[in-house]
């Protein structure tokens, strides 16, 4: 009779598999971060919102990186191969792997603030991402992230079933659009071949209705994607799943022959499609990829939309999503829009490249069992918001929006959290009379 693996054999198999996955992720960036380049100067400590909130040395970027680095050193550092006790190099153990779950998925949101402040440019998040991949490969990733990634794939595999749900959803939103614009000419086009823009929302109406209003008023040639922009495969470090999720949108864009894919206000969705997808698919995509922030900014600069900023008279501040700002470079676009649509826009300090993470990024906001730690890690952001005296916080990332909404409740900030598109719609001057939309289904 065949014998199953014993507990120790099972544990050995798990660590071997995880180590193998770590090796698969070993590239130039990971290799540099895993090398002796880190001077252990500690400059990264105050960059990390998790450390700022906890003051626990174990959660500093250097400490988190070191745990993963010593496993890499075992295989890649010549000194560690000979004298592992000198360098602290260690083989991965089951116990250590278990510790990595919290380290990689709870105590780091891959915000990269430590990277911009590291005098040596050590990319600690590359190591954390590699650890996430290793954990995913042995089934130790948070279950909800796996389910959310699988949901996205399932939607495409069962497109015929979900299409009905999707159309029902859009019909609801289109009614609201027409009521808002006072015309039945306004529409949400789906499957419109040859449209200039394929707009990719999240699954919530809050990322469809405001954009539909804006596109209709701007008389944009657009069509709505059947798929949602978010990609939980990225948070899992599961490249196969992440590619599969991105591919749905790429295939749709190719089929409809659009000129560009515009991603909704979602940080990781933008960086994934803009920067990661071309790497996965072997070169530039056959269409332009932009964030809705860039499109809005273009409309403002071209005078394509008219605004009444007095409709947004309360003080407004902007939270830079780590993915859109620090990683994506979209720093001035939202600010130009905000100055056009609001009377009193004020900055948080620090901002732009030095913006503090809200504490909920990289999927953490979806992991209910760590909500206490997440809210605690968001305290520096809550303090920052309070100091502005703003009554409205705009953020262009849904992850951040969920987190700041919870920070508002927990720390009694007395704010309203909204998106740039929602605030834009509030100040939008609608054309007189019934609109003659250029879109038709």
């Amino acid at each position: 009779m065949a014998r199953g693996p014993s507990a120790s054999e099972g544990s050995k198999m798990t660590t071997e598999l995880a180590t193998k996955e770590l090796e698969k992720k070993y590239n130039k960036l990971v290799g540099t971060a895993a090398s002796n380049m880190c001077a252990h100067c500690g400059w990264c400590m105050d960059s990390c919102h998790v450390y700022l909130a906890n003051h626990d040395p174990e959660v500093t970027p250097v400490a988190k990186a070191e745990r993963i680095r010593r496993v890499y050193k075992k295989n890649h550092d010549w000194l560690s191969k000979i004298f592992p006790f000198w360098t602290g190099a260690k083989k991965l153990t089951d116990e250590e792997l278990q510790k990595w779950v919290e380290l990689a998925y709870r105590d780091c949101t891959l915000c990269e603030r430590c990277v911009v402040n590291c005098p040596m440019g050590v990319e600690t998040p590359q190591l954390i991402a590699a650890a996430r991949s290793a954990l995913t490969s042995v089934g130790k990733a948070p279950e909800i992230l796996t389910q959310l990634a699988d949901m996205a794939i399932s939607r495409e595999e069962n497109a015929e079933i979900y299409r009905d749900f999707f159309l029902e959803q859009i019909k609801e939103i289109e009614k609201q659009l027409q009521a808002h614009l006072g015309t039945t000419d306004a529409s949400i086009p789906i499957d419109k071949e040859g449209a200039r823009i394929l707009y990719v929302p999240l699954s919530g109406a809050h990322t469809i209705l405001p954009e539909a209003i804006i596109f209709n008023v701007a008389r944009e040639s657009w069509t709505l994607s059947m798929f949602e922009a978010s990609n939980y495969g990225v948070f899992l470090g599961d490249t196969a799943k992440a590619k599969r999720i991105a591919e749905r949108i790429i295939n749709e864009a190719k089929r409809l022959k659009v000129k560009e894919v515009v991603l909704t206000e979602c940080g990781h969705a933008y960086t994934t499609m803009r920067w990661e997808a071309p790497k996965w698919f072997g070169g530039p995509l056959p269409f332009r990829v932009r964030s809705i922030l860039e499109v809005l900014d273009e409309y403002v600069r071209d005078g394509r939309l008219k605004f009444d900023p007095s409709k947004n008279s309360e003080p407004v501040t902007y939270h830079d999503s780590c993915n859109l700002g620090r990683k994506g470079g979209l720093l001035e676009e939202p600010r130009r829009v905000l100055r056009a649509i609001a009377q009193d826009f004020r900055e948080m300090t620090p901002n732009r490249l030095q913006s503090l993470c809200c504490g909920g990024g990289a999927g953490l906001v979806a992991i209910a069992e760590w909500s206490e730690a997440r809210i605690k890690a968001g305290k520096p952001k809550a303090d920052q918001i309070r100091q502005t005296g703003a009554k409205i916080v705009v953020t262009s990332c849904d992850n951040c929006r969920h987190q700041i909404t919870e920070l508002n409740e927990h720390y009694n900030l007395g704010i309203k959290v909204t998106s740039l598109c929602e605030l834009t719609v509030q100040a939008l001057v609608l054309p007189d009379g019934a609109m003659a939309s250029t879109n038709s289904k």
């Binding site: 279950e143 909800i144 389910q147 959310l148 699988d150 949901m151 996205a152 399932s154 939607r155 069962n158 079933i161 979900y162 749900f165 999707f166 029902e168 959803q169 609801e172 939103i173 999240l202 699954s203 919530g204 109406a205 809050h206 949602e228 978010s230 906001v365 979806a366 992991i367 209910a368 849904d398 969920h402």
Partner: protein, 80 residues
């Protein structure tokens, strides 16, 4: 006959948007026994696609999905 199903928990997802409804349903289903049924009420139309997709990928059963005025009601049975 599904109207006669006894639901052991009710979750209020009104006003919440993805992924929070999924997170809360996923949490709630773990609190009941296999075979038991929960119901959820949501307002965001995004759940029309999300909840069925979640049921399929998590291995649970979507027993019923209906609309009551502006609220969507879902009945889910724990299978795993």
């Amino acid at each position: 006959m599904t109207e006669e199903l006894k639901t052991v928990a009710t979750i209020d997802l009104k006003g919440l948007v993805c992924p929070i409804p999924i997170v809360k349903v996923s949490q709630a289903i773990k609190q009941v026994k296999v075979g038991e049924v929960i119901e959820a009420f949501a307002t965001d139309p995004g759940v029309l696609g999300d909840i069925p997709a979640w049921c399929k990928t998590s291995g649970n059963e979507l027993v019923k999905m209906e609309r009551v005025d502006k609220v969507f009601r879902f009945v889910v049975r724990r299978l795993v």
